[in-house]
Symmetry: C2
Subunit: 319 residues, 2 copies
């Protein structure tokens, strides 16, 4: 017996994760094309861009143009990412088009926090306190605590589940002080350390401590284990996942050139649908968008279904 | 609770599966280099070549030269593949160097049998009857029944578990008539149709019918589900897998250009070792062989660990 959900909520992050790491300049028109194509597949949550410093991430210098440019569908939630009040303000300029909510973003590895943000956990807590206040000042709900490197770290090695719990506790302190109501705990396998038993232990520890909160997983396929990890999480009843079409993306700070990106949306959808879990996504349409993504970035993407096709496509031909 | 084994037996098929499908000519010396490098990683079962018609598979015209050329290690079993008595006789010329045993090789999909072998199931049974007799005449034990397309078929669609059971029964009839003692039932996901619940149903049906036989899985990663499928099988106690270093290979008859090959040995070893299942393989050494395989074939292979490295490599750096 498992706790397999009937339905999962997939948060597509291909445009944001993918275009930030791609070497070639991608045109604003192509970014818009990908966002609009994704929205036509049945995906209801699409992260469209990062509002970050264009000197640090030049690939997102056109974030405003992308958000202004795409034609929004009424039943799709479009979101964006930001790391400070300036980014939040840029997002708020599009509050009629974007779904804007805040996160308290922490990492279970101090070594990663130093490498990624050039500050320690304590300083990061201060920054998150300020950011939470900035969100609330602007009337933006802070609903999520996110933990990066929750399953292990290239710089720190293994991460104990108790460490993940402790970091989330720090996040709740910030939320409680600010009067924010957290609904979702997001665990990120930023550098591809998760394996099925590690999913079991970390998700288990977090759920035992906070049984009433939604758990969301952000998995990377760095070592080829992402689909097995998602399956393990599904068996535990986890029903919210981030993923990227074609497996776009990767972590620019993980120190692994050429490493794979996020779990591929097509492979996650195939897994869910074949296991009887509804995704709302038309897989064949999504595979076409994966092919579009490959054309846009100009190189082969790791998503296998781009090349193999869905099972349903072959079922139709067989009958 | 699961039936997870303490140890798995991995049958490395990279040289045989990989070199048969690679477009570029691969030198005999490089084939030998790969076989010898694999034997240094702790792998105990390596399939080194195919004794097939060189007009059909020109890439294996040098099968004899490869087998004659590699330096054998005493604790490693080297095997080969063949499809008829001529191939068997070519293998028997190396009976002091190769581990030679026979298979009754069938397919659960009649459409696939037609496409792959240009004959139907009944004709294939006749051919297998003759081949079994040829093996026994030569003193070669026939120990294995193999079922291709056991989880689904690009030409026939879904395959019922009862169909797989029926095909294995046909195989047992041949074995019984010939007085052969079967020990292993090998289920191949030739075209990447398996998903966790399908593994569960097919392996479950076969094991219920023949509880005392070893089950071996030959998984392909065509749709990115191979590691999740292996994990599901491990939980059911399956302890023998075929795999290929770097994910070399693929099925030339599957009608999917560019589709991924077999489950990658490195990813399978990582999964097992992190779950506490012994493989006997030095993963870091194996990753180096994956890099060698990439150099030999001259293009990027799907195995993620070639680019990401093992967890242990990062653990050592972190401490």
């Amino acid at each position: 017996m498992t706790d397999m959900p009937n339905r999962v909520e997939i948060h597509e992050e291909g445009p944001r994760e993918g275009f930030q790491i791609e070497p070639g300049p991608i045109s604003t028109a192509d970014k818009i094309r990908l966002v609009e194509a994704l929205a036509d597949t049945g995906l209801h949550h699409i992260q469209v861009c990062s509002f970050v410093n264009p000197r640090v991430v030049p690939a997102w210098a056109d974030a405003e143009a992308v958000v202004a440019g795409f034609k929004a569908k009424p039943d799709v939630h479009y979101s964006a990412l930001w790391f400070n009040e300036n980014g939040l303000n840029r997002a708020l300029a599009f509050k009629d088009k974007l779904t804007i909510s805040g996160s308290i973003s922490l990492a279970a590895s101090d070594a990663f926090t130093h490498k990624n943000l050039n500050r320690g956990h304590a300083e990061n807590l201060d920054a998150m306190r300020k950011q939470t206040a900035a969100h609330q000042k602007n009337g933006v709900a802070v609903e999520r605590i996110g933990v990066m490197a929750a399953f292990g770290c290239n710089y720190q090695g293994d991460i104990a589940p108790a460490q993940v719990v402790s970091v989330i506790e720090d996040g709740f302190k910030i939320a409680d002080e600010a009067g924010a109501t957290i609904t979702t705990l997001s665990l990120a396998d930023t550098m591809g350390w998760a394996t099925p038993s590690r999913i079991d232990r970390v998700v288990g520890a977090v759920r035992s401590r906070w049984p009433d909160y939604q758990i969301s997983l952000h998995l990377h396929d760095t070592r080829g284990q992402a689909v097995a990890n998602a399956y393990t999480a599904l068996r535990m009843g986890v029903s919210r996942f981030d993923s990227t079409v074609g497996g776009l993306g990767g972590c620019p700070y993980a120190g692994q050139k050429g490493a794979a990106g996020n779990i591929c949306t097509e492979e996650l959808v195939l897994l869910c649908e074949e296991e009887g879990i509804a995704t709302g996504v038309n897989l064949d349409a999504l595979i076409e968008v994966g092919r579009l993504a490959e054309t846009i970035v100009g190189h082969v993407l790791p998503g296998e279904l781009i090349h193999a096709g869905s099972l349903d496509a072959f079922r139709r031909k067989a009958h």
